[in-house]
């Protein structure tokens, strides 16, 4: 842990350490959890809605499935899908933003007005319409969540691209006749990356929350899949009998978003101070 903290500049702060520890713990839980699960997550193991006992540490759900096993399995989908959706969103948003910010042609207004249209639609409404229209499959879900993020990423990237493009090193590259992909990828992208990644954590948590909401509303993953958000939705009917079946997945989602946010904040704060040696007052 300490060795890692030294290597990763962001982890030198207290919040960064806490966030990193929390995130790693959850990742470990998600990775190893299914191996430790005492029961098959979709098998009916006992009577429905039992309290916590030695046999079922977190009780059972409305169908009599073991809540602990479902919790141990249920992080994979939500974390995997939100990471996937967020990465896709960054790839698409950054490409659009770089292109729109650098070009002075008609492409810029075309791309950006399209982004504005997307931005005007409330995310959940968009996802609901998408799920209804295109079916409730995982690819549609991921693409939908990614699309929600693309406009705001594109706008941020475009703004910093416009700023970076005025620098001498970009002009030097233009003067030596570099092609567009090299200009954008080599000269501009590395310099806007800091700004762009500063909010990666917030976006990841936003993806988690959107996915959780969609799953909760029953428009995302379908039962009998084990998923934290889905579990909250399934088990809220039995909350009076076995409250742990709702509380455990809810707490885990909260823990996950808080840890990721702490890491993201620490990363963002460490970015500006990377290699720049601060000069002392003259």
């Amino acid at each position: 842990m300490t060795a890692l903290a030294v290597r990763l500049r962001f982890a030198r702060t207290g919040y960064g350490k806490v966030g990193l520890a929390g995130s790693l713990l959850l990742l470990a839980l998600i990775a190893v959890g299914p191996l430790l699960a005492p029961y098959d997550p979709s098998a009916i193991a006992g009577l429905p809605l039992q309290h916590a006992s030695r046999q079922f540490p977190l009780g059972t759900d409305g169908l009599g499935r073991d809540v602990l096993s479902r919790v141990l399995w249920g992080g994979r989908s939500i974390v995997g899908l939100s990471v996937l959706a967020t990465s896709l969103a960054y790839a698409a948003g950054a490409s659009i933003g770089l292109l729109a910010g650098y070009t002075k042609s008609i492409l810029d207004p075309l791309l950006m007005r399209a982004m504005d249209v997307l931005l005007a639609v409330p995310p959940l409404l968009f996802l609901l319409v998408l799920a209804t229209g295109a079916g409730r499959s995982i690819p549609v879900l991921v693409l939908g969540v990614a699309t929600v993020h693309v406009p705001s990423i594109a706008r941020i990237v475009r703004a910093s691209t416009q700023e970076v493009a005025t620098h001498g090193y970009v002009e030097a590259a233009v003067a030596r006749g570099e092609r567009l992909p090299a200009l954008l990828g080599r000269e501009i992208l590395p310099n806007v990356l800091g700004t762009v990644l500063a909010d990666a954590g917030i976006r990841l948590t936003a993806s988690i929350l959107i996915l959780a909401s969609v799953n909760f509303l029953g428009l995302g993953l379908q039962p009998p899949a084990a998923d934290w958000a889905l579990m909250i939705s399934e088990n809220r009917g039995g909350i009076a009998l076995n409250s742990l079946a709702v509380a455990a997945p809810a707490l885990l989602i909260a823990f996950l978003t808080i840890s990721v946010n702490l890491v993201a904040d620490a990363v963002a704060r460490s970015l500006g101070t990377s290699t720049d040696r601060k000069r002392v007052a003259r």
Binding site: Y169, E171, A172, A175, R176, G177, R186, P190, T275, R282
Partner: protein, 588 residues
């Protein structure tokens, strides 16, 4: 009344960690005297100046020493106490008026805010505006800073400094960013005010030529210490400290086409000062004792002080004149020709003409300078030549063949042969690329080198620009301004060009660093037969480097000719004004 307007004794300013920034600084300023506090970046001159206001920047503290202004001790007072004296006893004119004036407060109020509430406030502000020759109309006082020109903004700052009639005015490079003519006017005005009102001035600057035109007395600082202190004329004509000598030898002078001599090595930063004399590593006359103990400031007679064990051995100032760049007509046909160039900037509304009807030619190995004030269109011409701006009319020819307006349309060979080095070394290198990557890229892109061959070439190129090979793995953020500009030159050289366009490449650098970069350019011309198109506002630079010069006034060439004759006897009224206003070391 007290003997001195300002007395500083044994001042020591250190970082919170205890590392000294300024140490053992003592000097006196008499009533009505102008003291020039000269030093380069990192010499501690601004830190010292701020300390005179009883102020230390965050992270820095005044550890020791006394400061007396007109007999009042202002050191060791609390912030609340010292505030009572600021403005009244000692006031401050900051470096950049555009940043120092509050953009959302009317200029009249900015000056008035210096005064306590009084019925005569208006009248005092009026007087202050009149003093600095600003219009006193109510309408003018109600303007916001952005509605004034740079020179006017600086006058507002000076008016604010003078309105309380202080005994000492601190001026921290008040003319940086101003055009030479504006600068000369402002200096003349400051001098006049100072004579009329009799206040003392501490004028902080890295520019010896400007200081020479205003100061009675000069204090030279190096690595946080005073190294020389004496009457201005004597210090400038017969410096006793080897650093002062080096500094003077590196100032280009429009009236004397001297060969510039830079000081070897680089200035030491805070925290890397060697034991003993901090200048010893760069000093041509050091002896063993220099590296052991820091010499004391020694009185050398005639009201002069110097901090050097071997000051008697400091050579006399012996300017070396540039060999006249004769044989111009015998040069081969022109390498680059610009014909009837007209360039415009298109904003939302009408196009603004940057330059028009500009024609000139550069021969192989020749150095042509384009001189003008800001807004004269010189940078736009440079960008047209480099293919970064499409001219509205006219052509750029290379070896007699017309070039496409934009770099993307030019042949790789044409792009290779014309390289550009930009003004600001802090943004001309990609901060995310290592030095080696930055330098290797043009060789790969324009000369078809393999990655390996290009990386191999990097070491040679670094050596060519006199940089150690170990810098190859650094990021630009880890380099000084001078080092970055050398890397930018190396990047241009990597393409094996015939012509390098130098757009104000030394304007962001200290004088001694500027001298080193100009020296490098001169050497490269001699070694490689490079032609240079030098864009500058500094006639001194022109005089020490260029063969021919074109003077631009609002986008039109108003005079051109061989450097020496043009600077010696300018004919156009604009050129005459420029030459007259250019600061020079030749004593006023």
């Amino acid at each position: 009344m007290n003997e001195h307007a300002l007395a500083v004794d044994d001042l020591r300013i250190e970082l919170v960690s205890g590392e000294p920034v300024v140490e053992d600084v003592s000097f006196r300023v008499g009533h009505g005297e102008v003291l020039g506090l000269v030093g380069e970046s990192g010499s501690g001159k601004t830190t010292t100046a701020l300390a005179l206001l009883g102020y230390a920047r965050p992270g820095v503290r005044i550890a020791n020493g006394t400061i007396d202004v007109a007999g009042t001790r202002i050191s060791g007072l609390s912030e609340a106490q010292v505030r009572r004296y600021r403005g009244r006893l000692i006031s401050y004119v900051p470096q950049d008026p555009a940043a120092a004036l509050n953009p959302s407060v009317r200029v009249g109020d900015q000056v008035g805010n210096m005064l306590e509430r009084s019925s005569e406030k208006e009248a005092h502000v009026d007087d202050a505006f009149e003093l600095v020759q600003l219009p006193t109309a109510r309408d003018f006082r109600r303007r916001f800073p952005h509605q004034l020109s740079g020179g006017q903004q600086q006058r507002v700052a000076i008016a604010a400094a003078l309105v309380c009639k202080p005994a000492v005015v601190l001026m921290d490079e008040p003319t940086t960013g101003l055009d030479v003519v504006t600068q000369a006017n402002l200096l003349a005005q400051v001098r006049r005010l100072q004579r009329e009102l009799g206040f003392a001035i501490v004028y902080v600057s890295h520019d010896l030529a400007v200081v020479a035109s205003i100061a009675d007395r000069i204090v030279v600082m190096y690595a946080g210490r005073v190294v020389e202190d004496g009457p201005a004329a004597r210090v400038l004509s017969e410096p006793q400290h080897p650093y002062s000598l080096g500094l003077i030898a590196s100032v280009p002078d429009p009236r004397e086409p001297r060969v510039l001599r830079s000081i070897p090595g680089v200035a030491v930063g805070v925290g890397e000062r060697p034991p003993g004399c901090p200048f010893a590593p760069r000093c041509p006359q050091r002896i063993a004792a220099c590296e052991e103990s820091d010499p004391r400031l020694e009185r050398t007679g005639g009201d002069r002080l110097v901090r050097c064990l071997e000051w008697r051995r400091t050579p006399t100032l012996a300017p070396e004149w540039r060999a006249p760049s004769g044989a111009l007509p015998s040069r081969p046909a022109s390498l680059l020709a610009v014909e009837e160039l007209r360039a415009e900037h298109r904003g939302r509304g009408d196009a603004v003409v940057a330059c028009s009807g500009v024609s000139f030619a550069i021969a192989q190995g020749e150095c042509v300078a384009l001189v003008g004030e800001s807004g004269s269109g010189k940078t736009t011409i440079a960008r047209c030549v480099a293919g970064l701006h499409a001219p509205a009319r006219g052509r750029v020819l290379l070896d007699g063949a017309a070039l496409a307006p934009l770099a993307a349309g030019r042949t790789p060979d044409a792009r290779r042969r014309i390289q550009i080095v930009f003004q600001n070394p802090y943004d001309s290198l990609n901060p995310r690329h290592r030095v080696a990557q930055s330098i290797a890229r043009p060789a790969q892109a324009l000369r078809g080198y393999s990655r390996k061959a290009a990386e191999h070439a990097v070491a040679d190129l670094l050596e060519r620009v006199r940089l150690p090979a170990r810098l190859a793995t650094r990021f630009p953020g880890e380099l000084s301004g001078g080092e970055r500009q050398r890397v930018a030159v190396a990047r241009a050289l990597a393409a094996d060009p015939d012509l390098i366009v130098c757009d104000e490449i030394t304007s962001a650098l200290d004088v001694s660093v500027q001298a080193a970069v100009l020296e490098l350019l001169a050497d490269l011309r001699a070694e490689l037969g490079l032609a240079l198109l030098l864009i500058t506002h500094d006639l001194g630079v022109v005089s020490s480097v260029a063969d021919r010069v074109l003077v631009l006034d609002q986008g039109v060439v108003c005079e051109q000719g061989a450097v020496r004759s043009l600077l010696a006897s300018p004919e156009h009224a604009y050129t005459q004004r420029l030459v007259a206003a250019a600061p020079t070391l030749s004593v006023r």
